[in-house]
Point group: C2
Chain length 514, copies 2
């Protein structure tokens, strides 16, 4: 089995990819290694637990082609774990004079014993006109088919071949090329070069690109090219990227950019090093700046690698805890443009597929966007299909004690209103029939109680819809709504037409007073 998934949350997956040089755990950050002039020592990557690295086939070919063919890429860069090779499509496009043949590059990747190989692609970057992007996509597809024809008879090492998905912000191109590469038989896909997108913090476009791809190809492992900004990692993993590569650690270091959990800062603009890594723990900002140039770059690159390592581990821990939504939502507050991407999550129905039906920990409901989390959407569907024969209904605010049916309030209600359908309501979940109020997460959530303003029906469209559906699915001739502040806002803005409708303001002894 090439790709084994052990656990998931949203579309993030803890998995394992098997290659000829061994397996590695995903999600994985795959650092870029220069085949000839690598700056940070390769052993440092091993020490930090990076299980796989990536290098550039085109640059290897240009700078030490014969040697690489003879010794293999593992000896060239001195790494015995899984090595991925990028075809170098980007370098060809940017600096190449003559375009190499796709089959020539593919044969070379095969010859140097790369474990994870990419056919020669034509990156669409960002901002290309549709027709140009389409041409690039078609060329990439053609190359990929030729490559597949070549290696089908030629892949005795069982290397992983990765289909390069291009199309950039033209989402139909992304979808089409993902679909075609999938059908061709690629075991893994890679989404092309969002470097320019990420440099301008266009996280929302990146999110839509990943979601477009996943809507076509859900289960195969997915690589994201050039994603080395700390803010990209939680977003990309949550949307379903399993691996991502970047040289950001060294490129940023050369540019004096210091990574941290919320992005990057210029080293000389910092007042404190709020980092516990072995590089920073014994240094002040001043001491760091005053290091001799080469040592400073090396140390800054290493610090950056510690941050990337930490970010990946944090995301993995969040997946294992079932708190990836919380983690990405928190990260989103690092930048308004990351928040824009997070707000798109409500459109991505596929996030429900990877989210466990039951989690060990309670989930958090804090802001209106949380009504769209997969656990809430899923339980609303269950509650929507609930039917009762009772002709009367009473709605009551969800209780502190959960499940609702075990609360003091429920027991009082059920003895006083024995012929009523009794339901709780929760702004983020909707109407909760008492009988099934123990389904996850109806009894397993924590809510921020204080509201900023009295929220309106506009802010909770999922609630309004759940409310209206519930009341219309069965025939009720008697409706009692015990309305807290939230529900009062809802009923004033909803059309409720019932013969006997009573709306009663919530208070501590409201049950006695009805």
């Amino acid at each position: 089995l090439l790709f084994e998934v052990r656990y998931s949350d949203l579309a993030g997956r803890i998995g394992k990819i098997t290659t000829p040089s061994g397996t590695f755990e995903t999600p994985a950050f795959i650092p870029v290694i220069h085949p000839v002039s690598q700056s940070v020592d390769i052993n440092f990557f091993k020490k930090l637990g990076f299980e796989a690295v990536i290098t550039n086939a085109y640059i290897t070919l240009k700078q030490c082609g014969d040697l690489a063919r003879e010794k293999g890429i593992h000896k060239i860069i001195n790494f015995d774990g899984p090595i991925m090779t990028d075809s170098g499509g980007y370098q060809v496009l940017e600096y190449g004079s003559i375009e190499p043949e796709p089959s020539y590059i593919a044969q070379f990747e095969n010859d140097i014993k790369s474990d994870i190989c990419v056919p020669l692609d034509k990156p669409t970057g960002y901002g290309l006109r549709y027709d140009v992007a389409e041409r690039y996509v078609n060329e990439t597809i053609k190359n990929s088919q030729e490559t597949l024809n070549l290696i089908k008879s030629n892949n005795d090492r069982n290397s992983v071949w990765v289909g390069p998905v291009q199309g950039a912000e033209h989402l139909d191109l992304v979808k089409r090329s993902a679909g075609q590469l999938d059908e061709m038989g690629y075991d893994m896909l890679a989404l092309g070069s969002p470097v320019q997108l990420l440099e301008s913090y266009e996280f929302a476009i990146l999110a839509d690109m990943i979601a477009a791809l996943k809507s076509k190809v859900m289960s195969k492992p997915l690589h994201l090219f050039g994603a080395g900004h700390p803010l990209t990692i939680p977003l990309a993993v949550a949307l379903g990227c399993d691996t991502f590569d970047s040289a950001s650690y060294i490129l940023y270091a050369r540019d004096n950019r210091y990574m941290h959990a919320n992005g990057t800062s210029r080293l000389d603009k910092l007042s404190y090093l709020a980092c516990q890594c072995p590089i920073c723990i014994n240094m002040t900002v001043k001491e760091f700046i005053q290091l001799e140039y080469k040592e400073r770059i090396d140390k800054l690159a290493k610090h950056n690698l510690y941050v990337l390592r930490g970010e990946v581990l944090s995301v993995k821990q969040a997946i294992m805890e079932g708190r990836l939504w919380e983690y990405v939502g928190q990260k989103a507050r690092a930048h308004p443009k990351l928040m824009e991407a997070f707000k798109l999550f409500l459109n991505y129905k596929y996030l429900e597929d990877g989210t466990p039906v039951f989690k060990k920990k309670a989930i958090f409901f804090m802001e209106t966007i949380d009504q769209y989390r997969p656990e809430a959407s899923r339980i609303r569907k269950i509650f929507d299909s609930f039917r009762t024969n009772k002709k009367k209904i009473i709605l009551f605010p969800d209780t502190q004690v959960s499940p609702f049916y075990s609360s003091h309030e429920y027991h009082k209600l059920s003895s006083k209103f024995s012929d009523y359908q009794i339901c709780a309501y929760n702004p983020f979940i909707g109407i909760i029939p008492a009988e099934i109020s123990d389904i996850y997460p109806a009894a397993h959530n924590l809510i921020s109680k204080r509201k900023l303003n009295v929220n309106s029906a506009k802010d909770y469209p999922t609630f309004v819809s759940s409310f209206e559906k519930f009341l219309s699915h069965s025939y009720f001739d008697d409706v009692i709504v015990v309305a807290d502040e939230f529900m009062q806002g809802i009923v004033h803005q909803t059309n409720l037409e019932f013969k006997n409708l009573r709306i009663i303001e919530y208070s501590d002894d409201v049950i006695e007073q009805i």
Copy 2:
């Protein structure tokens, strides 16, 4: 000068406290050291950069009173920097058989050469009946007066004496005792024992307590007792606590609790150690758990200290960058009960005092609560006082280019509507007169563009008020509102009565079409 403030944001301050044994920078986490059976080696604290420590006068008196008097507390715990002594009021209350005399404890603190001393107080904890809490407060005040009488003639070392503020959730008691201790002449105040509050995550009550105290005593340095939970630190600093002590690092370690940026987890519930500290960097969870008991506690305590160190440094860096609001807002997403506390910030007008009038970095506007950040409240007041003689006004959405008056759109508007008062509008700031659209932060903010739903007037009360005030302060007989989606929601829910009112839907070429 006892307390020097170098920089501030919200009520958080980068400052320096001077004591007989030297100065230390604030905000500072002051770790609790046991005078006799300290577990983690004192040199470790120095190595990590903790500049001050705290120990317990009552326990010192009980366990090595004479030796401490003879050698001084610095030799006893082997620390030559500033040492704070808690009087031990809590221990007396919990375990003491006979209540010691306040003057006896004060004299002892003086004799052992403590640098920062606390009179014997009677902690109110949390959940006491009002009359009991009041009695405790009165007793604490009485003790504090007696202590002051004693040390006035007796403080040749110039130790810092700290007035213990009690009262817990009874905010008027907090206010009263803060005011009285301030008037008595205490140089520094300390807010009593929120340990129980914090154990039940009642961050909102803690926030109200700190705000109540600060409303009486703003500038003197403030200590918070027993605040060693990672989530408490950003909140407490933002609200104006300069120092805080705790033994949490070791207490949690003994309880197998592993600290991280979002709280604590049981070590055996973790799958990954997402931490770069020297303890965790070379270990897996499994290896950590399998350590021999004493070594595991020691390593876990040290890891916890690294996390606390990191949290304080992150908060300090946020203050220096003017991003403390962003930092606390992000932290708030770690738990619904922390979010409740953050939502109270809009009530705390004093946060404006410490927030710089100009910041180097743009501020972020992402969610409705951000309309209440001090920079926004402050500029709304300026704009509210703006008057024009023009009889006509046109309102236009704020532009990407800032300040508004340098935008393309403004130039087109001003040539077409030369006798109009031209204004931009921004959901978080309000109405922005073009003439002064360069005032911070009108031209220095980043907004999350995509809205979840079309927000209603209810969600932006500050905007509605700014809008109504602006239009009523001057006499306009011609009003044009170029309304984007946000503004359309506002105008539909606001009463606008003007002779000539035109509401025009925003589009890219709207100026040509008016």
